[in-house]
């Protein structure tokens, strides 16, 4: 009996694990290519938008991503756009696992889809040399503010409040 219970428990765990894998596998990761930046700006025009550039191999990103997941959850008035701009190629599975674990599965997720990364970055900011994490705060009025490195939660909150989209 005990043996059966153990077996059933293991099987159930396998299902749960598989369920998580399934949920992750359905996360859409759009390829960020030439013109994608303008498409994102147009799609979110008039709405406060937090665009966050990150990467699976980026140490500070591992700390910041769950904080952004919390921010997204508590700020439904802010559009959160995540873009994997890692300088080391990331596997789709690793990208999905990280956004899923950070609570960002339902955010708009992109990943650099072109090896000519200089051109992709140039479209975002001609002076950006690839350092991540990096956040771009786009106001309702189209104003743009870039935060190099990890963004302080208080800083994001202040910006969101200024946009009339503070914590719910």
């Amino acid at each position: 009996m005990k043996q059966h219970l153990t077996r059933d428990l293991l099987a159930l765990m396998a299902v749960l694990f598989a369920g998580v894998a399934m949920a992750e596998a359905t996360i859409e990761i759009k390829p960020f290519e030439r013109g994608s930046w303008q498409a994102i700006l147009q799609a979110h025009a008039g709405r406060p938008t937090l665009v966050h550039f990150w990467g699976v191999t980026c140490g500070p990103c591992k700390v910041e991503l769950p904080e952004l997941g919390q921010f997204a959850k508590s700020h439904p008035g802010v559009d959160v756009v995540m873009i994997d701009a890692d300088l080391v190629p990331n596997t789709p599975a690793a990208v999905r696992a990280m956004v899923s674990q950070a609570g960002l599965a339902s955010a708009e997720n992109w990943a650099f889809g072109d090896t000519f990364t200089e051109r992709l970055r140039y479209e975002v900011d001609p002076k950006w040399q690839g350092d991540i994490p990096r956040s771009v705060l786009i106001g309702k009025d189209g104003s743009v503010r870039t935060i190099e490195g990890s963004a302080a939660s208080a800083d994001l909150e202040k910006w969101a409040q200024g946009q009339g989209a503070g914590r719910h």
Partner: protein, 405 residues
């Protein structure tokens, strides 16, 4: 019976759920990682050149997921078929500042080092190997250190007596510090030496709390006196550059700040410095910063053995995102090469100095490409200076860029 049915259902469900749906939205994978699998120069993403004492040009490349070497006896027009240094399947370090290293000793033997990712957390492992038969075969690869935490961004330099000096970034001191409740940012700069380029001495610490994601610059200030330039983490998380000159092969000197750029950033710049020491003893350094005090690419020189540096001189057109500067000092002149990008194409720009870095020529474009590319590197043999630049679209470029004055 019911239980058996349940178990079958659970197993079937688990199998079904484990299968990924068609990955219609998977991002594209870089060519060198997915499509271009050959150990061929045309598949290379990183190429590092070095001349042998006989003038033969050697390159170490990262191609098709392998580190391989090839040689040219006609100035880089044609290369021998690449030979992989190991058949082991390894996960190579793809970081922007990572690349295979190669030095050639006075016997013409090849000494190679490269880094790999040892796990899914991107901890690194540096391996070394040597060929004593002109690059036909290599000794089994060996880790540069027995420590199994994380090593990356190795740099090699050859002393005049044939001793190989290796420096790298190492995270072995992080966990012990955190265990004691102490903060530990970044990595540690470590070094070791080798008589044969395969077995290295015990790793020794130069300095804790360096930036963990940028290449190192290494040169010799004279026999037994290696010099290492690195992106340090100064007080308050400021990632500016520092330099140390060894007093002997086992003794690092004091750490001096190269420039007070005040780049406070909790991120990885992935862009390390470059160093070359002229026969005059002048240290020539280049680096990238986005600090409060200055932003962009810069050059400075030291006339006092790295204790102090001249006022940083900006390099390149700030409107074209200058990056990846490399400096090479020869008896005939000092050369700087870097990349610029105008939104469509990448150019390699160069300038040179005939007065040991005091004044510089007007920059000029020496190469361009309209797709991704490696960092530009400079190498010399005799009086001739060459640009080495791997490009995805236009292949490998090895071209003379200076003869000195």
């Amino acid at each position: 019976m019911k239980q058996t049915f349940m178990n079958k259902w659970i197993a079937a469900a688990a199998l079904l759920l484990c299968q990924s749906p068609a990955s219609a939205h998977d991002m594209h994978r870089p060519t060198a990682e997915s499509g271009c699998t050959g150990v061929a120069l045309s598949c290379a993403t990183k190429v590092t050149p070095a001349f042998g004492p006989d003038g033969k040009l050697w390159i170490a490349m990262l191609a098709g997921g392998k580190v391989a070497v090839a040689a040219s006896t006609d100035g880089g027009r044609n290369f021998t078929k690449p030979v992989a240094v190991t058949d082991q399947k390894l996960d190579m370090d793809w970081g922007p500042d990572a690349r295979p290293k190669i030095v050639i000793d006075k016997h013409g033997d090849l000494i190679v080092a490269f880094s790999t990712f040892r796990d899914k957390a991107f901890n690194g492992e540096v391996f070394t190997t040597r060929s004593t038969d002109g690059g036909q075969t290599f000794t089994p690869i060996r880790p540069i250190t027995s420590n199994n935490v994380s090593q990356r961004f190795e740099a090699l330099a050859l002393d005049t007596d044939g001793t190989v000096f290796a420096a790298w970034l190492d995270k072995r001191n992080r966990a012990p510090a955190k265990k004691k409740g102490e903060a530990y940012d970044g990595a540690g700069l470590f070094f070791a030496t080798s008589r044969n380029g395969v077995a290295y001495s015990q790793a020794q610490l130069v300095h804790n709390n360096t930036c963990e994601c940028c290449r190192l610059g290494v040169a010799f200030a004279g026999h037994g006196r290696p010099v290492v330039i690195f992106r340090n983490i100064f007080e308050g998380g400021v990632r500016d550059h520092a330099i140390t000159t060894f007093s002997d092969p086992d003794t690092p000197g004091p750490i001096h700040r190269v420039s007070n750029d005040d780049w406070k950033i909790s991120a990885c710049p992935h862009q390390g410095p470059s160093l070359s020491i002229a026969p005059t003893g002048t240290y020539h350094a280049t680096w990238y910063t986005n600090g409060k005090n200055r932003q962009g690419l810069f050059y400075a020189r030291s006339l006092d053995g790295g204790a102090t540096f001249s006022k940083p001189v900006p390099i390149g057109d700030p409107a074209h995102n200058p990056s990846r500067a490399f400096v090479l000092a020869t008896a005939r002149g000092t050369y700087l090469a870097w990349k610029e990008f105008d939104g469509e194409k990448t150019t390699v720009r160069m300038m040179q100095s005939s007065d040991d870095g005091e004044t510089w020529s007007e920059p000029k474009t020496v190469a361009e490409t309209a797709d991704s590319s490696d960092h530009p590197l400079l190498v010399s043999f005799g009086r001739a200076v060459f640009l080495s630049w791997m490009t995805k679209k236009d292949g490998y470029r090895f071209q003379p860029v200076g003869q000195g004055t």
